[in-house]
């Protein structure tokens, strides 16, 4: 069950700093397009900055950068939002947990914050720690009344399975708006937009990216994703909803790799929650950018036929 006290703390701002994600921009542009456009429809103007870089989580957890290098990078990105006096909205679980975790860390450790700020001062910036980081799914849950008002394409009869992603609920178990083991807010949102939630056993399993395992330990990674996909396949949803572009990329692309390697046939479309909301809010099909998806495209077209193009 969502923690309503936490949800109530999320503001309903007029503007928000939209933090772009690497995977969303370069692999699944629909997430970025739908994210900004849906927020606009819901009355929150996304503000972007081309000075914003990658959150730095990947290089840190790939052990290429020590925390001493990633903390200034986090502080720099957050200071961009602070300059505009805005809270930050991210579309990726990784960005969320990384900005949040290291942001909290610096806020609670004056010494580290001072040394980080020295580095930022050299480039004329300062990190104050005033910008709160919200995940776009949190924002949607906060704005759910507005969503229900604006649904133009009800998802009637569409069977939807959910995948929350580890770095939102697990890593941020005290900051997330829902329980780490039995989250329901995404289900509520789907209900609200008229879809049918399909439960499956491996819902709370990791997608299998394993951060760098998909590159270094591909066998482990594929093994685990296969366990997850088997369970999804059994439930046979029309689409699988994720809230992290990295899970999105893993679950979408690995289906094709497994089909190729093992002669199986996984064909479940994977959508980001921003795309699902965008679909329900009636954004043009081109903006959903399903052309960038690898698996289950036929099924996606079929869904579009049913809910209207």
């Amino acid at each position: 069950m969502p923690r309503l006290d936490k949800v109530a703390q999320i503001p309903k701002p007029e503007q928000i700093f939209f933090f772009k994600s690497c995977v969303a921009s370069n692999k699944y542009p629909g997430i970025e397009a739908c994210g900004t456009e849906s927020l606009r429809i819901l009355g929150v103007e996304p503000v972007e900055s081309d000075e914003q870089t990658c959150c730095g989580g990947f290089v840190t957890f790939a052990n290429v950068a020590a925390p001493t290098a990633s903390m200034p990078a986090v502080a720099r990105n957050l200071s961009l939002a602070e300059e505009k006096n805005l809270d930050t909205c991210v579309v990726c679980n990784g960005c969320w947990t990384f900005l949040n975790e290291f942001g909290h860390f610096m806020n609670n450790n004056a010494e580290v914050k001072g040394s980080v700020n020295m580095m930022l001062n050299m480039m004329g910036r300062e990190y104050k720690g005033t910008s709160h980081v919200f995940h776009i799914a949190e924002m949607y849950y906060r704005l759910k009344d507005d969503i229900s008002k604006h649904v133009l394409r009800p998802l009637k009869g569409v069977k939807i399975a959910t995948h929350y992603g580890c770095h939102y609920l697990g890593g941020g178990k005290y900051s997330a708006i829902d329980d780490a083991q039995m989250p329901t807010y995404m289900e509520e949102l789907i209900d609200l937009m008229g879809g049918t939630v399909v439960p499956y056993a491996a819902n709370r399993e990791c997608c299998g990216t394993g951060f760098t395992q998909i590159i270094n330990g591909k066998d482990l990674s594929l093994d685990h994703t296969q366990r997850k996909l088997d369970s999804v396949q059994e439930a046979d949803p029309d689409m699988l909803i994720v809230q992290c572009p990295y899970c999105h990329s893993q679950l979408d692309r690995v289906q094709q790799q497994l089909n190729f390697r093992q002669g199986v046939n996984y064909q479940t479309p994977v959508l980001h929650i921003a795309q699902l909301v965008g679909m329900a809010l009636g954004l043009p099909v081109s903006q959903l950018a399903f052309a960038a998806h690898v698996s289950g495209r036929e099924r996606l077209e079929n869904v579009l036929d049913r809910v209207g193009r």
């Binding site: 020590a66 050299m122 004329g124």
Partner: protein
């Protein structure tokens, strides 16, 4: 087998390894600014300065803040 690592390390004990590890992290996480570390930073700052007019200006604005630190690093004494 599970004892391979012991052969690999030979006579070195866990204490030797842990000393090295702790030394590595205390250097990595140190907030002190010794001269050596400051000198290592110079090329980076220079590169940033050469990037453009705006970066040069920002870096120059930082100089007054930097001077006492330089002094401290060279003399090894804390001011004020």
């Amino acid at each position: 087998m599970a004892d391979n690592f012991m052969e690999e390390y030979g006579k070195e004990t866990s204490r030797d390894v842990s000393m090295r590890t702790k030394k590595y992290f205390s250097d990595l996480f140190s907030l002190e600014m010794p001269l050596g570390r400051m000198m290592k930073m110079m090329p980076g700052m220079l590169k940033f300065m050469m990037h453009g007019k705006d970066t040069r200006e920002d870096l120059f604005k930082f100089m007054p803040q930097m001077m006492p630190m330089m002094k401290e690093a060279i003399t090894g004494k804390k001011e004020g």
